[in-house]
C-alpha cells in the first residue's frame, strides 16, 4: 500500500509548492507519466549504468523543461496558470502517446526492485517522500525561500515592495513542482514497470484533492507540506477502504466527493473563525 502511495506524495508536495505561490499546476500527472515513458526506452533489460544515467537524466531534463515552460507561459505571456498548465498538460500527453503509441519497454526487474527496496516493511521511497515533506515544511517555515514563496502567494505587490525577487520565486516554484512530479514518475514507473502513455494522468486531480484535504488554500500563501502528505495518505486510505467494506461503485465516487466538500467546508470555517477571532 505504501508503495502505491509514494508517487502521489511526491506529486502532491510539488502541487503544494505551486499552490503556495497562488498558482496551480495541471501538468503534474502527465509529467509523471512522461518520466515513466522516457525511462522505458532506456531501462529495459539488461540495464547498464549508462542507460540509467541517460534515461533518468533525460527524463529529469524533460521535466525541468516543462517546469520552465510553465513558468514562461504564466509569467511571460500572462496566461493564467490554469490555462498555461492545461496547454502543457495536453502537449505532454500528446508527446507521451507519440513516444509510445502502445505500452511498451518493460523496465528491468532490478530497477523496479531498487526503487521498491524496503527497510523492514517500509519502502525506502516512502521514507524519502516523508522526509521530503518534513524538509519542505521546515524550509517553508524557517528559510528565506519559504518566506518568499508565502509572500508571493499572499500578495505579489507587497512581496515586490518587500524586495522579494518575484520571477525567481515563481521559476523556483514551477520547476521544483516539475522535479517532484519527476520523482513521483520514477516511483510510478517502479509500480507499473512499463512505458504506458496513459499512465499518471489521474494524478493531476488526485494531487489537487490531496492538498485540499491537507488544508491548503488555493488562494495561495497558506498551506503545509505535512498537510499535503496527510491528504495523500487519506486518499489512499479511502481507496483501500472501499474494497474492505464492500462499497458499490456509486459509493466509491461519493466517498471522495463527500470528503472533498467536507474538508473544504471545515477549513474555510476554521479560517473564517480565525479571522473573526483576530478582529475581536
Amino acid at each position: 500500500m505504501l508503495t502505491l502511495l509514494t508517487p502521489l506524495i511526491f506529486i502532491a508536495l510539488g502541487q503544494m509548492i505551486v499552490l503556495l505561490s497562488a498558482g496551480i499546476d495541471l501538468s503534474v500527472g502527465p509529467v509523471a507519466g512522461l518520466t515513466a515513458v522516457v525511462c522505458s526506452f532506456f531501462l529495459v533489460e539488461p540495464v547498464g549504468a549508462g542507460d540509467i544515467v541517460s534515461g533518468v537524466g533525460l527524463a529529469l531534463l524533460a521535466s525541468l523543461a516543462v517546469g520552465i515552460l510553465n513558468w514562461c507561459l504564466i509569467r511571460k505571456t500572462l496566461v493564467t496558470p490554469v490555462i498555461a498548465t492545461l496547454v502543457t498538460f495536453m502537449c505532454i500527453r500528446g508527446s507521451s502517446l507519440w513516444l509510445r503509441s502502445i505500452p511498451g519497454g518493460l523496465t528491468d526487474g532490478r530497477v523496479c526492485d531498487w526503487l521498491a527496496a524496503r527497510v523492514g516493511p517500509v519502502p525506502i521511497g516512502f521514507i524519502v517522500a516523508a522526509l521530503a515533506a518534513l524538509a519542505l515544511e521546515v524550509l517553508l517555515r524557517r528559510t528565506r525561500w519559504g518566506l518568499c514563496l508565502r509572500a508571493v502567494g499572499s500578495s505579489e505587490i507587497n512581496a515586490r515592495k518587500a524586495g522579494v525577487s518575484i520571477e525567481l520565486t515563481y521559476l523556483g516554484a514551477y520547476s521544483s513542482c516539475a522535479l517532484l512530479s519527476f520523482a513521483g514518475g520514477l516511483m510510478l514507473m517502479a509500480q507499473i514497470g512499463i512505458g504506458d502513455p496513459g499512465a499518471g494522468v489521474n494524478y493531476t486531480l488526485t494531487s489537487i484533492t490531496a492538498v485540499v484535504l491537507g488544508g491548503a488554500s488555493l488562494f495561495g500563501g497558506r498551506g503545509s507540506f505535512i498537510g499535503a502528505f496527510m491528504g495523500a495518505m487519506l486518499i489512499q486510505q479511502v481507496m483501500n477502504v472501499t474494497t474492505f467494506i464492500r462499497l458499490n461503485s456509486a459509493w466509491q465516487f461519493w466517498l471522495i466527493g463527500i470528503l472533498i466538500i467536507a474538508a473544504a467546508l471545515l477549513y474555510s470555517g476554521l479560517r473564517a473563525g480565525r479571522r473573526q477571532g483576530t478582529v475581536a
Binding site: 503509441s101 504506458d196 474494497t243
Partner: protein
Amino acid sequence: MKSKHHNVRTFVQIVAAVTATFALMSAGNHATAESAASASFCGTKPIKIALATGFNGNSWRQITRAELEDEASKCKNITEILYTDGQLNPQKAISDIQGLVAQGTDAIVVFPDAGPALLPAIRAAHKSGVSIVPYISSPGGEPGKDYSASVVPDNAAIGALFANWMAERLHGKGVVVFFGGTPGNPTDQAIYEAAKKALVSKPDIKLVGGVQVTNYTAADAQKAMTGLLAQYPDIGGIISSYGGSSVGALRAIVSAGKPLVPLATTDINELGCAYYDYKPSNPAFELMTVGSYTWQSRAALRKAVAGAEGLKNDEPSVQSPTVLEDSTRQDLRPRCDKGLPLDVPQSANLSVEQLKALFAKK
C-alpha cells in the same frame, strides 16, 4: 426507498470504517462446508472470490458480472463475491487488487483495463498465493509465471475473419477503415495487425487511416468517421473492434448523405436493429458480427476457482471467435430484440429472461 436506507446504512459503515481503523482486517470467514452438490469445477474448499474491473459503466460490464455470478452460483463452496471498480483510474485498479489480496481473497478474476501497467500488481497477487486470472484483455506477462491462468479472445483470428469477410464483400477492391477504442490499446493493435496481414494478398484493398480512436463511444466514432469521409470520400467498408461505437460511424455516413457500406464488428443489439432500419434504403449495407465474449468471465472464473482449489483446468486460454450474425447468410440473420437495451450483446450466455431481469426498470 429501500436503496435509500441502504445508502444511509452504507454511509454509517463508511464513517465507522474510516474513523476506526487504518487497515481493517479481513471480514470473518463465515463459511460453512455445505455438502450440497456443486459443479465439478468447484472443488470443496470454501473460497472467497472477487471480480476486479477497471470500469463498470456499461451493459457489457453488467452482463459479464451477471454471467460470473451465474457461474459462481453453481459452486456451493464460494462463500462470497467481492467487486471492485477502478473507475478508469489505473492507480485505483492497482489499489483494488492489493486490497483484495490483503483481505485474503482466494481467487480474483480481473479485467485489466489499465493493460500492462497492472502486471506488477497482478504478479504480486500471484506470488502471494492468490489465484488470479486476467480475461478479455491481456496485461502481458506469462500464465503460470505472472498469473495463474488467463482467458483471452483470439484477436488474430478475429482480425483475419473480419478482413477476409470484407474482402469478399468488396470483391477484392476498395478502401477499408479500422475503428478501435482507447488510443494505443494492445487488443485493437492485435486485431488491426491481423487484418492487415490478411489483406496483404489482396493488393487492391487498401486499409487506410490506421486505428481510429473512438474511446469505445459512438460519439467519437461519429467524429472520426466524419473526418475519414472528408479524407477518403469513397470508403467501401468498415472494420471495428467494438460494435457499440460502430453505430456512430454508420450515423456519420448517413448524415453525410452517403450510402452505407459493409461493416464487420462485434455483436450488439443496436446494430442488429440498425440493420433492419437501414437496409431497405442502403442495398450495399451488410453486417457481420462475432460474439462479444461476455461469457468469458465464466471461463475465467472456472480457471480462477481451479487455481484456488488446486484443480486442473484444461480449457483453452485463447478462445476462437464465433460468427454470430452475417447478413449475407440466411442462417445467421442479424438479430434485433426491441425488448432489450440497445447496447446489450445478444451473444450473452444468459437467457433472454435473465437479460431482461438484469435490465428491467425498477
